[in-house]
């Protein structure tokens, strides 16, 4: 297959960037999108052009490292990560525009590589259950209904890739935050810290410059882990209750 690529090239975080035109020749239909870029990079190297820098690691859709906006959509067509996108999904001869994830809170570091440390800092604000190794009771001492555990698992499946924020017109990270708030908040082990957790994580999210949700559902449409936007509603409710408690002075 053959493709005409428009690829975002940017030297560093401070410099401006622009789309460069490259051709991708002799691409097997079974190749993944990233393997297509590997082939292009080999070509560029042979021609003495610095290869395109892009993030990827596990290449099986679970680490959340790959982060390309393809024809304007984070992770491109279909619902999966960039690494799980295969070239047979494209037409031979198609023009493909490749940009980094775009969100104010994800500064571009070089070419297609963005900095997503903001997500780590949101997790540090409260995405945990305070517990120390060695202090746990027997794992079966607290039964958890299967339906509850299953929803917690649905939420816990988030891979932290950042596509939600990149897709959102407001650059909101609420799908990401709500996934963690829902996962830990549903489990009996996580409940004691629910109020503190939701307040700190949402506040950190605001501090990082992410916007708020205004129900576009673009996040849900691109999420490779299938996190539903309804979690955001749940989080908003938890946040409201916690902030009311806080404002009337109930200790959290």
């Amino acid at each position: 297959m053959k493709f005409y690529l428009e690829v975002w090239r940017q030297k560093g975080p401070e410099s401006g960037g622009k789309l460069e035109h490259y051709e991708a020749n002799n691409i097997p239909a079974e190749a993944s999108f990233l393997e297509m870029l590997d082939i292009v990079n080999e070509d560029l190297t042979a021609k003495g052009i610095e290869p395109i820098q892009f993030d990827s690691d596990c290449r099986e859709g679970i680490c959340g490292n790959c982060s390309l906006t393809i024809n304007g959509v984070p992770h491109g067509p279909g619902r999966g990560t960039t690494c799980q996108l295969y070239m047979r999904k494209f037409r031979d001869g198609q023009i493909i525009t490749i940009e980094p994830f775009r969100a104010d809170s994800f500064p571009v570091e070089r070419d297609l590589v963005v900095n997503r440390e903001a997500y780590d800092r949101i997790m540090q604000a409260g995405g945990f259950i305070s517990e120390r190794a060695g202090s746990a009771p027997d794992a079966n001492s607290v039964p958890i209904p299967k339906v509850v555990a299953d929803v917690a698992m649905d939420a816990a499946a988030c891979i932290g890739c950042g596509a939600c924020a990149a897709a959102c017109p407001n650059g909101s990270a609420m799908l990401f935050v709500s996934a963690k708030v829902t996962h830990l908040g549903l489990l009996p082990q996580g409940k004691p810290e629910n109020d503190r957790r939701v307040l700190s994580m949402v506040r950190q999210m605001d501090k990082e410059g992410f916007g708020n949700c205004s129900n576009y559902y673009a996040c849900e449409a691109v999420c490779p882990a299938g996190i539903p936007a309804s979690f955001i509603a749940g989080m908003n409710r938890a946040y409201s209750f916690a902030s009311i408690k806080e404002s009337v002075g109930i200790p959290l």
């Binding site: 099986e60 517990e131 816990a156 996962h183 082990q189």
Partner: protein, 638 residues
Amino acid sequence: MTLDANIPAGPLDKKWTSFKNTAKLVNPANKRKFDIIIVGSGLAGAASAATLAEQGYKVKCFCYQDSPRRAHSIAAQGGINAAKNYQNDGDSVYRLFYDTIKGGDFRAREANVHRLAEISNQIIDQCVAQGVPFAREYGGLLDNRSFGGAQVSRTFYARGQTGQQLLLGTYSALSHQIALGNVEMFSKAEMMDLVVVDGHAKGIVVRDMTTGEITSHAGDAVLLCTGGYGNVFYLSTNARGCNVTATYRAYKRGALFANPCYTQIHPTCIPVSGEYQSKLTLMSESLRNDGRVWVPKRKEDCAKEPKDIPEDARDYYLERKYPSYGNLAPRDISSRSAKEVCDDGRGVGPGGLGVYLDFADAIKRLGKHVIEERYGNLFEMYHNITGEDAYERPMRIYPAVHYTMGGLWVDYNLMSNIPGLHVLGEANFSDHGANRLGASALMQGLADGYFVLPNTLGTYMASQFGKKVDASAPAFKEAVDSVKARVQKLISIKGTRSVDSFHRELGKIMWDKCGMARDKKGLEEALRKIPKLREEFWTNLKLLGSADGINMELERAGRVADFLEFGELMCLDALNRNESCGGHFRTEYQTPEGEALRDDENFDYVAAWKYEGDNTAPTLVKEPLVYEEVKLATRSYK
């Protein structure tokens, strides 16, 4: 040089307890004074970072990914073993211990494995307490499934994403400690060298992958939790970035590398489809619980659609050869059997390198929804990659490099022969012998990180009061300078071949000569080819761009340079081990039925290799394996 594994005295099942009762402790006020450097943020790295920080140590944790949450532990699918016996099916700590020793083909250290089995239960408790959403039954209690090499159901799982959920648990705990200021996290920081001062590991040299800056960090102890070296084969189920650099650099600074030839070839991966391919994708072994493995009996049937091949023309070779374990035979045996039938010309799919994994019976027995519930995401993944629907047509699978049992040599305290240098998880050699059982890697990573190292580290730390070294020591400058020189050298070669082309060629040599089956002739050939390829690498590598700022080709070049040396060490070890055991199958040493033939008299030892200089053969140091409890037996799964 002799190796002392420092195994505590006493009966096997009391060793760990008596160790803990008498282990040296460091009081909380003193822990604060110690800086611990941890390289890697996977299960072992993040768990130890969080736990040591909880205990009061000051921790610096480094990872090459852009976030600790992306470490490759995240990709483990199937599950984690524990001897809880929640199924009341006869499981016990002893059984888990014995299965693991036997699964490792009697090439692991007894005391370490028993400790692992003892700790396994605590791990599950710990994970549930931190919010890992394991699969549950309707009554609310934890569910289990069975895995290869065991006849009990002792595997805990979270859909097909167990590694992800366990890693996110450790990442949560780590994040908490970062927030409290007890851990300083360095992401996108790759360890380039180990700093040894007066014989003790006291620091590391790191390259900031964003700015290109090369700096050193001093600490009171160094923990390597840097995973395995499967990518020496180029194609493997490992993440693109997985590499041997951290452990290999430590080896070049004097740490012994143990059993490098023990590699695990996983039987259920999606077959290779072309030259361009950058990685192989694993289909969890848990699929073998319900899937039946087969190939056509006759070569002529291989091109037919599987549904057109009648039942009596199919060879369910695992069920035929190993009736009591059947499709759940251990990984090494299943992989070799797949190779055998494909070598016999009965493989299916492109190039005849594949076998069927068929769910038709299970779907008939349990219904499609049950299979979907158990393996839905795996079927989806398979469909996405191959374009085929495994509910309708059997999966095609083929073995691929997956895990490496070898690693840096460590004693019972998980300390290498360099005092202060501790090695955890897949990066060490200690628990899996010559073959690892499914669902045991997660167990070992977390055991080492949460419970073993936090109890054994005191032994070393208690001897280090008042011996603080800072980064102004000459050894630091020497190490930083040598790393800088090496990076410059890579940049300045200006040849004609890309990094990946070298890596691919090395991978092919390793897969052909040091893969699923090895022999003397092939290994000797590899030992001739690798140095030549290495020489070409250092004279003909084409690397564009500079060392400042993001340059992923430069990162890969450094890793491939190390693989090009390490591959030779692997072949050397494989050549030395004149026997077949576990994942190491030397075709010269097999039974008439084609099973691995061990030589306990001559090879019941850990082969630890000591670096003696570039282009000089390393020395072999042996740690004899002493079995007090277990009687060596021929491994049989018939």
